[in-house]
């Protein structure tokens, strides 16, 4: 039963490796957006330290979102998605595999680079730890929720922009708790509450999102 999940993960990772640009560029997008802010706002360190969690989270969210349209679109365009839907496995499992692969390619690199960017904003070690933990916990939820949006907008010409319209409102809770965790740590309140809420969201969305996406995909294939 789980064989198909690993098979899909292996396939998607192989494709990502073949393209390379994918992995590198989601990461660079993240880095560039984060670096744009000091440019647009000015170099005051106090101000920047206050902004850091918000800016990092918004950038993570946008970087994830930018890679969403291609989650199913490539497979749809070349007919592979039909074949996946016709495979003898439940489509939800296939989507689970794709979501995990998406996180490995987009979310994980962000998590790894986040502390480095945090240093640039002069965050304390504790805040850095919480920031990394929050991004680690939160990004899978972003991939999961995003999959629903990607499936709903599949094949529509409005494409990427319609997708962000649908998905961003659903991302907001993750953003609030993610940035909140760091803020709470900085102000000495402790970020555990926020982190456990983030974990719960990720858990729920990974269980629920693949099946909702699968339903949406079937509609798109009609």
């Amino acid at each position: 039963m789980l064989g198909v999940v690993t098979a899909v993960i292996a396939r998607d990772l192989k494709l990502a490796m073949r393209r390379q640009a994918d992995i590198v560029s989601a990461l660079f997008f993240f880095i560039i957006v984060v670096s744009l802010f000091p440019l647009g706002i000015g170099p005051e360190p106090d101000l920047l330290r206050k902004l850091a969690p918000g800016v990092l989270w918004v950038a993570a969210l946008l970087a994830t979102m930018l890679s969403l349209p291609r989650l199913f679109a490539d497979d749809h365009r070349d007919g592979t998605l039909e074949q996946l839907a016709l495979s003898p496995h439940p489509l939800g499992l296939v989507v689970t595999g794709k979501v995990i692969a998406h996180w490995l390619v987009s979310g994980l690199p962000l998590t790894l680079i986040a502390p480095v960017l945090g240093i640039q904003f002069d965050l304390s070690t504790e805040a850095l730890l919480v920031l990394t933990g929050a991004i680690l916990l939160g990004t899978p939820a972003l991939s999961g929720i995003g999959a629903i949006g990607a499936a709903l907008t599949l094949g529509l010409r409005g494409g990427g922009v319609l997708l962000s319209l649908l998905v961003l409102p659903l991302y907001i809770p993750v953003l609030i708790f993610g940035a909140g965790a760091v803020d709470a740590t900085v102000s000495g309140l402790g970020g555990e509450g926020h982190l456990s809420l983030l974990g719960a969201m990720t858990f729920a969305s990974l269980g629920f999102a693949p099946w909702a996406s699968a339903a949406a995909l079937k509609i798109a294939l009609e």
């Binding site: 409005g158 319209l165 649908l166 961003l168 659903l170 909702a212 009609e222």
Partner: protein, 248 residues
């Protein structure tokens, strides 16, 4: 085929169309009556609020609009669930008919809230949880309408839109309870079944206005759903009969 017809008798457009047509004038009249009564109480009779002065009178539209914006979304999600579970044609039409009204209610809530915020808080807008989540609700409405508009096949549009509504419905409790969960500038709930903190006339005025908005929403949604039905079912015999009969 016949069995299905009986089962879904009232959800069948052919039965619902004339029913809605007959009910619209009643809901419209009720809306006007409740509105006049509510405005009379709220604008002419109710005394001033000792804290907020006369500015508080915005409450008589702000609160009904806010309630309706959330309530309509819940109703749409309910129809969406029915539609996905039982594959009824009516449910997709109902959600589509309700969405613009819901979006307008969300807009009115934001607009009146902003006009209230300027004199009370000294600013048009603050980014607190209640206000922000109401804004998100507006985005959810717009996202739903954009998604449905982007899909040409009506049946596919119904299914995809329904799915989105069900996913988005988690936001409604967040809006409603946001004042409890986060302490914010925005006022907490003051209508309480057991003990109301409001003056009696104010409370009545507000409830009457809420009824007015509610009836209004039903009337408009019914009117809109009738047009959608004609459009969607134009190849069925009952619509052809209506068109041939030269209905006004």
């Amino acid at each position: 085929m016949t069995r299905r017809f009986n089962l879904y008798h009232f959800a069948s457009p052919a039965t619902f169309y004339p029913l809605a047509g007959a009910l619209i004038p009643w809901f419209a009249a009720a809306s006007v009556l409740f509105g006049l009564a509510g405005l009379y109480l709220g604008m002419l009779v109710a005394p001033t609020d000792f804290q907020q002065g006369e500015g508080y009178r915005i409450i008589f539209i702000h609160v009904p609009a806010s309630w309706m914006s959330m309530f309509i979304y819940l109703v749409m999600a309910f129809w969406a669930a029915i539609g996905l579970a039982f594959n009824t044609r009516l449910s997709g039409m109902m959600t589509q008919a309700l969405a613009p009204t819901g979006a307008l209610m969300a807009f009115l809530s934001l607009w009146t809230g902003a006009l209230w915020g300027k004199p009370m808080w000294g600013t048009w807008w603050v980014w607190d949880a209640r206000l922000t989540s109401e804004l998100i609700l507006l985005f959810l409405y717009i996202g739903y309408m954009a998604l449905v508009a982007a899909i040409d096949d009506p049946r596919r549009a119904d299914k995809a839109g329904g799915l989105l509504l069900l996913v988005g419905v988690v936001n409604v409790p967040i809006i409603y309870f946001s004042v409890k969960w986060w302490n914010t500038l925005h006022q907490g709930s003051s209508v309480n079944l057991t003990k109301s903190s409001m003056a009696e006339t104010m409370l009545w005025g507000m409830l009457l206005m809420a009824m007015c908005f509610w009836m209004y929403a039903i009337a408009v949604a019914f009117a809109r759903v009738r047009t959608i039905m004609l459009e969607r079912e134009r190849h069925t015999d009952w619509v052809k009969a209506i068109l041939a009969g030269g209905e006004k």
